[in-house]
Amino acid sequence: MSPTLDAFVRSWPSEPWLVASLLLSAAIYVRGWRSLHRRDPERWSLWRLASFCGGLFAIFLALASPLEPFASLWLQIHMVQHLLLMMVAPPLLWLGWPLLPTMLGLPKPIRSVWVAPLLRSRRLRNWFTRLTHPLVAWPIYVGVTWFWHAPRFYDLALSSTRWHFIEHLLFAAAALLFWYPVVRPYPSRPNWSPWLLLPYLLLADVQNTVLAAWLTFSSRVIYPHYANAPRIAGVAAIDDQAAAGVIMWVPGSIAFLLPLFLIAVRLLRGQSRTGAGSPRRTTVSHPLPFESTGLLPILSQPSRAPSSHRFDLLHTPLIGALLRWRYFRPLLQYTVGVLAVAVILDGLLGPQLSPLNLAGVLPWIHWRGVLILGLLIAGNLFCMACPFTLPRGIARRFWQPTRSWPRVLRNKWLAVVLVALFLWSYEAFALWDSPWLTAWIALAYFGAALLVDSIFAGASFCKYVCPIGQFNFMQSLISPLEVTVRDANVCTSCKTKECIRGSATLPGCEMGLYQPRKAGNFDCTFCLDCVQVCPHENVGILATTPGGAIWSDRLRSGIGRWSARPDVAALAIVLVCGAFANAAGMIAPVLLWQDQLRERFVGMPPLAVTTAFYACALIALPALVLLPLTVVSRHWGIISATNSQVAARFAMTLVPLGFGVWLAHYSFHFLASWDTIIPATQRFASDLGVDWLGPPAWICACCRPAADWIIRFELLAMGAGLLLTLYAVLRVSESFATSPRRVIAAAVPWCAAAIILYASGVWIMLQPMEMRGTLPDESAAIAQQASR
């Protein structure tokens, strides 16, 4: 094999996203095609499948094969690439009759909610019909072809990846329009004469011949890029150009003349249709007659699966069995408890340098990251594994408290204060940088849980006190799973109500959540006591709509309605604002601003600056903004509900955006510094006399720049949060306002606030950040040397 050919076959560009897109398209088509093939194997033959997949493969060859890197060196290769995109892939795709298989292959909600309205839109259908009319498609195709073959624009595409992408996109789009009337894929039924296709294809071949002849017979190299390109395998630029012209001429002519011949034969035999859908020719102007194509039933299928079909985590083979096992939760708690003890011991007795200490990395980098990712993919997993309630569980074997939590405190106001204090103290006392304080916080948690729950019955600590629990309850509103009943009818006939009352051997819900009236994950610790105690096995961990509980104001067991809970709304606002304040506290501009403030007010202690910052971010700013937003929203939407009700409902809608920021922030630390746990564990083990883990690999604790994909992930997370918030605002607004115009008017102020918050979040994430809990490069190197 020649070296050039050898290099060619090894030059595969990395295009994972293109390949993934093509595979996804193929999978959707195949799914729909299989269903159609079962109903009518003659019409939906294997050949249709092969055509469509062949079209996708042609795109793959054009853009993700060695043709792509060699196109900039050889014009003939570039021409092959364009032929694949313009003359091979589009007709093959249309020959696969993609509309119905793709429709059927799409998930039902996408099909019925998004695609069906688009296909039903008369305006869009008219547009497409006009664009694919031969008199329109031909000039578009020829115009695009000649435009991009002009030397100036051809060179522009070769010099810029982005322009090259646009060139290919336009080529493919124009070619899809051009080949549509030729193939007339089922169920299209054009209202123009098929005889029009004869001049259509003939003239297309003529213009192709003219362009190809220009390239073939030109005495000079037309494109400067190829004139300057190095000679590969001894092929001169002028010869390369002539070869490109021949490729365009001969295969191009075959591509136009072969269908011309076939269509002409068919027309002469008296068949007016090439698409083979319906034999009769129509004179009606409806572009897509759904009733005759079988598309209407597909589009009209209900989008929502029955509730019995919801995914249930408890029914999954391995995880389900584990979760149903009675001792699974204690096992989790003891495991996390051991880690907590290690954190306390190392925090109190180990080196007081955060990256070297388990108490410096495990809670602030790993636990927070795992917590938020757990909330994203499953639910409130930390409360399920919470070790702080272990001592109280042991104590309650000997002592059963009988007192009830004070009525005046049966709300979230105490928790709001504690959460705000926790967020403030994290920054004010640099908790992430103090293993000793971290250890004391963990100890305080054990002590507080034991004390509160030794005095008061139920899970008073979890429900009314624990700041971590409040964070988890609020963020788990976005989780995709919830503990809920499988069949409401079973609960209606249940007389014993063990899920709330408990049985002789097992407790009921200590959080006071009565399963049949429970909605969403708020206040649910995922303890699974209800799962264990239900005699009908009617409680599961079912899939739910992330955020769905936010815009519903139904009466919830143990909580009531959102509109009647200003304390819950305040908790939501503190956690949303806390997300931004917490992330802003570690970026360079905010740190600089704090320094400037200290310089300006000489003698102002850092604690005062941090306190002022948090007082502004968590109390003053929300208070100043919420009232005008509520008043404007009520006024514009002409809402009859009270200010408090409106503020409480809309405040909850900001939770998804806050979740996006928490996710971006915590996952940034976790994903960028996950391996800091390795040297800290090695050091801790070594201190305990366990040497088989080896000497600490301090280089893993070193501060490194975050990978590009992490910032992209952060922005995607915040964007998704924004969209969910905007959707929640719309739904809440719909529940208040009476007409579409008022719905929009009531939503506008809150949407504006969400967008401003999102913009500030993006700004924060794009700033240089302190890599807390990691060692500077030099320190890591010194430590590494010292350990050797």
Binding site: S11, E15, G547, G548, L715
Partner: protein, 191 residues
Amino acid sequence: MSCRNAIRTLTFACCLAASTLANYAANADGGRLVHVERVDGFTISIFVAPDPPRVGPIDVSVLLQRGDDDAIADDAQVAVSMQQAGDATAFVSGPATREQATNKLLRSAWLELPAAGRWSGTVHCSIGERDFTVPFTIEVGESPPAWTAIAPWFLWPVAVIALFGVHRLLQRQRKNPRSDRSRPEGRLLQQ
């Protein structure tokens, strides 16, 4: 539209947006040919991407051919160094290898240029016992603001919002009996 559908659609839209955005990032090496020179019986072609080069990572690809028959020189060691004119401290260098190149005819080096201005580059080639260098210069422009490179990643919700707006509009049109029921296919769709 039910909320579950909205979330599924959002997920689907996120996947589509991510795949479209990521396709933009695909970039083959090669770029613009900035210099060709025949030295010691070899032809060296130097390509630089992006075009025009800007502050930040740039790709310098080298095509090394034997002068007599344009065959690719396989047994060469190639390195690229770049120095900013008038600033001796601004110096970057790196090996150019086939492994880093998409087009395996070329040898590619990724260099991080810290400042704008005129940069003098040198390609160092070693073939057997022969060593030679090829100088070239490029004008490096200021990098666009950092946010522009990442703009699609935070502006994508705008596209989803626009799509949602269109969807709502179509849905409203569909619910409006005046626009649909008067037409035959409108009646069919109402069934």
